[in-house]
Symmetry: C2
Subunit: 434 residues, 2 copies
């Protein structure tokens, strides 16, 4: 049995403790808010407002059109992509930053269909998880219908069996499930898919910056390299609301694209081999650069860079390994404390008990009143979120979440549950965004 | 023959003169810069830096995830779309703000193919202009190949003849040509295309905020309503570098989509009928809302709203009619002065002499040294841009460009040409972005 003092002692000994100063948390702290929703929107990096001021006033305002060159706007996406590559175990040139996760998934799924079809046209099945994040399923379903593919949804334990079907072309999974926090063993699943002749697309929305990812590169222990990946800038990368997203392809696939001249469907001008030649004919840029489409939203990109920089700052104090170690400790502590201090209120653990199968999130279920309980918790300054029909989600961002925050959050949850204050009708009022 | 004094007098009498105060031009003015490139990147609205500070520090930093509701982030795109609708003669609900122009063109072109094919499957030809902005041609070419359509490029005078081919499904044009400034008669071209059984997609990148546009709605004189349109936020709408773009469809086409359940290809979660139900099955939102895809980049959206507001502010002093009147006056003045003061230096007028055929831009050509002349002009503080092989482009934004700016720009051009200073080798050095 731990105590708040023991939690404070762990914070004092935490090698990542200094990272919290990289975030603008004064007003959040002054409000008494414990923010456990960095899996939905990461906290504001302290550097971002000044950076936005510089981009707006100096670069846009005074530099005007010249800033595409003089302020490096034209290579800003590339620069951020190289930074994200360090977070996801990829080579810099194999990542692009552009558009949204949904749009990027459309591109890489198109690519995976083409690569797969070039080897075996009889493979026309995309397998995914029924509980994958809906936008991934929506994008895949529409694209599958259009191209004569079939999207097959299974539950996680049925994935190995589904892969045995010789029609499977692509396995499309989110590394860490947005509802449950369940984390796939990326290397093992990729190896299994490859053995079955399928390609794998990983959505890293809830992984990048939260758990170590090794897509490719030269790790100490070689891993089975993935085929394609996409991910989100505004969760654990702290890039701001709706931050641009990223995409990755294994170089053997971009080499195939270079060889065949394959185009991604959103063949916009900035993915052209020579965008400023303004030729009427499209020639895809070499390698991954063809996955860029239109002019990037510079202001949102600038904020994203500040966010990614917060994750890279941790490289000096242990990097993703240290982040993972603390993430496991925070989530273990939260689970332990909920079980100890909030027993008897019908809460059950949805996330895996085994840390190895869990991302940086803990989901609890309440059979009837999850929404109202979450609203009452938010009213008490513990911000998580609710996912229908019954899930209370709590995200833990090791760069700024403290052990005492975990302690205090669970104590407030106990107060909410014991007092029954969540039964107040105002907590049942649904907001537009849940 | 006019004079600088006469130009100053026109500025003093200009009903739009007060609009210039809506822009942060102090540093530009102090630097002695005359900015004639608002057709590439509009000037910073004075309100934008503070708005960005509020969105970053208050909404993101303090409000965190709650700001999707409390700060209205979730409806921000809709709010801006309703404002853009006023600028382009459309109904509020028929416009969405999302993604880039290229991505939006992909969506509406897919829609046009579907609508067209539903009536006559033999129509599989997309006609466009050879000198249309390349990204439009790239997007159309790739999509055409994928769907068994054919992209046919013609020169502007050949459009009527090309429409006579019964295979033409879609006429895809940019209202104001990015190179020449040539402006199509939107209603007449639309009428001709409809008479030939084709649909029309208009790219309003160089129109929205620059010239009056009447896509639909209830004008005093009824116009032939267009079918689809897309446009850009960062030119005459002053929305900032890479600002999100917009898309429009005529309600008869979205009614067809509602009736048939048609999906746009980028069927992301925010275009779902109930995005926060997180159901595995995609159900498109009714009407135009299905054209939204992923989570919007809120910071860039916030700046875009500041930009669109500068255009709406002109509604109090004559609106788009006043903007057009001044635009014609500025461009006429520029052409007259160039012809009078810069004669004998091999410059020729590329833009139409007739104001009715011209957008808010004037393009000049120089047979051999356009690039170096533009660089020398920029060194003298007149910022236009160069488009290979021979075009010097000058954009005129009536909200902040003054008659004296036109006078001074031409005088500096004369100095550059008379002195031969553009022959300095440094002016031949090509930048990454031209």
């Amino acid at each position: 049995m731990t105590s708040r003092e023991a939690c404070a002692a762990r914070d004092a000994a935490d090698p990542l403790a200094g990272m919290r100063r990289l975030f603008a948390l004064e007003r959040v702290d002054a409000e008494g808010v414990i923010y456990l929703d960095g899996n939905s929107l990461g906290v504001l990096p302290r550097s971002a407002p000044e950076r936005l001021r510089v981009v707006a006033e100096d670069e846009w305002g005074a530099g005007l059109i010249r800033s595409w060159n003089s302020a490096g706007w034209i290579t800003l996406g590339e620069r951020i992509a190289a930074k994200i590559a360090r977070v996801i175990g990829a080579d810099a040139g194999d990542v692009v930053v552009a558009d949204s996760t949904s749009v990027n998934l459309y591109k890489v799924l198109s690519a995976a269909m083409a690569v797969s079809g070039s080897g075996d046209a009889a493979r026309t099945r995309i397998v995914s998880e029924r509980t994958n994040f809906p936008t991934d399923l929506y994008i895949a379903d529409t694209l599958a219908r259009e191209r004569g593919f079939e999207l097959v949804l299974v539950d996680e334990p049925a994935i190995p069996a589904a892969l045995q079907d010789p029609r499977v072309a692509i396995l499309m999974l989110t590394h860490v499930n947005y509802r449950t926090g369940f984390m796939h063993d990326m290397a093992a699943v990729t190896r299994r898919a490859h053995a079955a002749g399928a390609l794998v697309i990983w959505d890293l929305a809830h992984s990048a910056g939260a758990v170590p990812v090794q897509l490719h590169g030269e790790p100490a222990e070689p891993v089975e390299p993935a085929d394609f990946a996409v991910g989100c800038g505004y969760k654990y990368l702290n890039g701001g609301p709706g931050a641009p997203a990223f995409a990755w392809a294994h170089p053997r696939h971009t080499a195939w694209m270079d060889h065949t001249g394959w185009r991604q469907p959103l063949s916009g001008w900035l993915g052209h081999a020579a965008p400023f030649a303004f030729t009427p004919d499209y020639q895809p840029a070499a390698g991954m650069a063809r996955f860029v489409c239109g002019t990037p939203p510079v202001l949102s990109l600038a904020a994203l860079e500040c966010g990614v920089d917060t994750v890279l700052a941790a490289e000096a104090v242990g990097g993703m390994a240290a982040i993972r170690e603390k993430s496991v400790a925070l989530t273990d502590l939260f689970i332990d404390l909920v079980e100890q201090r909030c027993a008897g209120f019908d809460l059950s653990l949805v996330s895996p008990r085994a840390a190895a199968e869990r991302g940086s999130q803990v989901s609890l279920a309440h059979p009837t009143d999850g929404y109202a309980i979450m609203q009452a918790l938010i009213a008490r300054g513990v911000i998580g979120d609710f996912r229908a029909p019954d899930i209370l989600r709590f995200g833990f961002t090791p760069l700024y979440t403290r052990y005492v925050d975990v302690w205090d959050a669970v104590e407030r949850m106990r107060t909410v549950l014991e007092s029954g204050e969540w039964r107040d009708p105002r907590h049942a009022v649904r907001a537009a965004v849940t």
